[in-house]
């Protein structure tokens, strides 16, 4: 498979070289993938933040956040087929151990602690970044193994009216449309965006789970996603800013049956979310205060058929958030950051014992300093959380970054992390088969990591690389276990430990009027878990965590032509503790984009070829992924 991948890369570069001869010599700028070891907003010294490449993001505007993030080696997406429930995991943690932050607000639903990233359209987001590692001190419960940042930034840069329109059509009768428009002035800005994607999802695949390995067409798997976002920003004087953000998404999915079944699926689910965030900030000479308020609404409407009977389950939750943060510069290069967060969760679920309310009140703070002419950066953080007026043990973290010679830095960090039981764990009614457990304790653990950062420029070459080694443990990890009465209940049952290695990098090479940009990443994860009451060393590999994952992305830019190749290798993934595993796979995507200048507008046309090698693979046992696909689209930017 590596030989095939090598030939693909050569063919791709050759096509770009041939195109070079005919194109006017103009470089189209593109944002580089940036790996950061420095503090940024709430990012701490000693940690790493990786932004999704903007060109790749623009090509996958019609796709979900899950599909876009699947190209990153530092995250693992476990999805029930395209458009199906998709959970994101980092560093061997579970899906509820990664926090999703949108415009500063933690938007994970309190019912399950897991956000279905298939229902979030990538086109409505301006920027997506990931931060592996524990961040409980800054984001509270759930940020145990990493954070995903989704942001929409409305800039008040006096650009005036602007707009964008896009359309895409492709395999499996998939089509999508996005439209944005707005106004950006000096003191006021507004923006509205709409995105719609619809797919029959009737792709072909080789069904290796059925007798005879038949080639089949996926049935009962259609989905559609509607997303609307609206933003306003006001600048009041020179030191005050006021912003409102609203994001509505509605995702419908027909749930196919398992690939081992010949009968088509009959069940379906609709996820409907509304997020509202209000930010007010005030700046002083050496201080900054921000108020952030939010209201989050989640609804899951599931219709299932059991033989001749059907059952509809409607689950809703709300979260009301109020947060105040203040930053103060004690002296030059010494900053103090404190905050207080109140989050009230409420749920109404068909199968709960009651309609609970949960009050979370947290105080948190960070001290950071930058010494010796920025050669040494330090920070210390702590968070005291309360849940329903009971104190949770304090969590704390620290990090440092030391600049060495030749643009090399060393970083170290350690963090205590925690994760509260979600509402499903606590309030699920005893149905005779499953029951919640109101006596659950929080999960607690540790993350630590160390690494090296290399940034170097040599003639026309620009290098950015980072290597990280990490270890983590989690105690009292919640797991649903069948008890002696045959009822499945969550218990603080497991102990998990993980160690791993991450490598990320990018290289930019400029040759005359061409730019070659390479970005690559590799992740090794050894994640194991066992019953923590066991006195034997009986750790087993965690489910759906591949030991090795690697990605390689190359962009070639010449004038108005941009071509890109994305290669991805994922090692086999255990699906249980008895040796069953998903096969390892290798994927290749190719993209070609050409931009036309039409007066003051930019018109782009593109072709996207996915799974070029026609690999038969799965992200989840029993749920197929499509073979080779082709998509074409246009984008108009005003």
């Amino acid at each position: 498979m590596l030989k095939k991948g090598g030939l693909v890369v050569v063919a791709f570069i050759l096509s770009g070289v041939l195109a070079y001869a005919d194109i006017v010599d103009t470089i189209i700028p593109i944002n580089a993938v940036v790996t950061k070891g420095v503090k940024f907003d709430k990012y701490s010294a000693g940690t790493k933040v990786i932004s999704i490449d903007t060109f790749q993001h623009s090509l996958y505007q019609m796709n979900s956040v899950a599909e876009l993030l699947s190209y990153q080696s530092l995250v693992n997406i476990s999805a029930y087929g395209p458009g199906g429930l998709a959970a994101l995991k980092m560093r061997g943690g579970s899906a509820d151990h990664t926090t999703i932050v949108w415009n500063g607000i933690n938007i994970k639903p309190p019912m399950s602690g897991e956000l279905n990233l298939s229902g979030l359209n990538a086109g409505v987001i301006d920027n997506i970044s990931i931060q592996p590692g524990g961040a409980s001190t800054m984001y509270g419960t759930g940020a145990t193994t990493g954070v995903v940042y989704l942001s929409n930034r409305l800039k008040l840069n006096n650009e005036g009216l602007n707009g964008q329109l896009g359309y895409e059509y492709g395999s499996a009768e998939t089509k999508g449309i996005t439209a944005r428009g707005g106004y950006s002035g000096k003191a006021f800005g507004t923006r509205l965006g709409v995105s719609y994607q619809d797919s029959e999802n009737n792709f072909e695949f080789i069904n290796t789970d059925r007798f005879g390995d038949p080639k089949e067409k996926q049935e009962h798997a259609a989905y559609n996603t509607i997303s609307v976002f609206q933003q306003n920003a006001f600048r009041i004087g020179e030191t005050m800013k006021f912003e409102t953000d609203v994001w509505y998404s509605n995702h419908f999915k027909e749930i196919p049956s398992s690939t081992s079944s010949a009968l088509p699926g009959t069940n379906n689910q609709r996820d409907e979310n509304v997020y509202f965030v209000l930010n007010m900030s005030k700046y002083g000479n050496n201080w900054f205060v921000k108020y952030r308020g939010g209201m989050l609404y989640y609804s899951i409407n599931y219709l299932g058929y059991y033989g001749e009977e059907s059952r509809r389950s409607i689950n809703k939750s709300w979260s009301y958030i109020n947060e105040v943060e203040a930053k103060y510069s004690l002296k030059k290069n010494h900053k103090l950051f404190i905050g207080i967060n109140s989050t009230i969760d409420h749920a109404e679920v068909t199968d709960y014992t009651e309609a609970p309310w949960r009050n979370n009140l947290d105080v948190f703070g960070r001290y950071s300093s930058s010494l010796f002419n920025n050669y040494l950066k330090l920070n210390f953080e702590a968070r005291q959380a309360t849940v329903d007026y009971e104190f949770i043990p304090v969590v704390y973290s620290g990090g440092t970054e030391v600049k060495m010679v030749n643009s090399t830095s060393v970083k170290l960090s350690a963090a205590k992390v925690y994760n509260m039981p979600d509402l499903n764990d606590l309030y699920w009614a005893n149905t005779g088969m499953a029951a919640g457990n109101p006596d659950l304790k929080p999960e607690f653990g540790w993350n630590s990591e160390g690494g090296l950062i290399f940034n170097h420029t040599l003639n026309n070459l620009n290098f950015n690389h980072e290597i990280t080694y990490y270890r983590s443990e989690l105690n009292d990890a919640i797991s649903w276990i069948e008890d002696s009465t045959g009822v499945w209940k969550p218990r603080n049952y497991k102990h998990s430990k993980t160690n791993g290695f991450e490598f990320t990098g990018s290289t930019i090479y400029k040759f005359r009027s061409s730019v070659f940009k390479f970005s690559y990443d590799y992740s090794y994860i050894n994640a194991r878990v066992q019953d923590q009451t066991s006195d034997r060393n009986n750790y087993e590999l965690k489910r759906y965590v591949p030991k090795h994952k690697a990605g390689f992305r190359v962009h070639y830019i010449y004038s108005r032509l941009t071509s890109a190749a994305y290669l991805q290798y994922v090692d086999e993934q255990p699906v249980d503790e008895t040796g069953n595993a998903l096969d390892r796979y290798f994927l290749v995507d190719l993209n070609i984009n050409y931009q036309f200048d039409i007066r003051e507008a930019d018109l782009s046309v593109y072709i996207k070829l996915t799974n070029l090698l026609n690999t038969n693979y799965k992200l989840r046992a029993g749920y197929a992924q499509p073979l080779r696909g082709i998509y074409g689209g246009i984008k108009l930017k005003l």
Partner: protein
Amino acid sequence: MNKNISNFKFLAICTLVISVLASCDKDDDTPKGVYENGVFIVNEGNFQANNGSVSFYNYGADSVSNNIFKEVNNRVLGDVVQSIKLSGDNAFIVVNNSNKVEVVNRYTFEEEGVVEGITQPRYVEVNGSKGYVSCWDKTVKVIDINTFEILKSIDVGSGAERMLITNGNLYVANGGAYGTDSTISVISLETEDVVANINVKYNPKSLVLDKSGNIWALCSGKEVYDGSWNLVDESPAKLYKIDVATNQAVLEIELFASSHPTRLQIDNDGTTLYHDGGFGAPGIYSLVVDDVKATMTKIIDKSAYGFSYDSQTNVLFVCDAGSFQGAGTLYRYETDGKELGSYEVGIGPNGTGFKHTKQ
């Protein structure tokens, strides 16, 4: 010339006879496959994880091989493997949540075919060239065991479970599925229609035949919940003795008031019944069919997700599913409760398939 031909004929005949005799001996000695001499263990796997499997306990080696379907056929078996039935050279593996019955050679475990288009199948019984598959869509499907086609669908009660063939009829325990049923359907094998319904209380799960030709039915009892999942009605688990001549229950024995067993077995002689205790009374119990006092004796003190009686070796195979996270454990016991061994099997073991079976 004629003498030469006669001699030749004589030699040819002798050669032929010797060859036939030699090949007969060879056939008798040649193993039919790796999985000839032992017991198959059915492992459900995790729901919707597509990791159900079959293990094999080898009598001679006293050891277990796991995941044999995937090892032989290089593909997964499917989602929630419910049961296995051996008949002739075939094994019929019921994969409940994959809505199919996989058919393999019982000696080599190589795939032969599949019966598809059936909803939530549970168990298979075989009579001649026909198989009968109990399904939770309130039907029993009649299949051709050679072509794997569905020949007919017969309406029965809800939650059709284990079956038994005797006296020209197929008896189907309608176990209630997620609700309640109180009938055993009687299907004529000649007409393939329901000819009677036997009333029992409630949710019959398992049927066996005793030495006198009576059917014993284990009813797990009912548990009824209201809309807020409060238990509002419960009935005890019971044993019924059924006279097949009249298709009437002639004896009722109450087992447990608040525990709901599901598995019934009978020994080689057809005189001693074995049943589990359900989650409320974990263990394996015995009861003698002629015992007028119906004394229930606990012989094995172990929580069992499933168990089976091996009529070849007079041994009880007890399946412990543990937490369903990781391998389950198979235990072998003498009928007096003495443990003979324990073995790691697949996830969620729920029972076995024997080549010699009375149930």
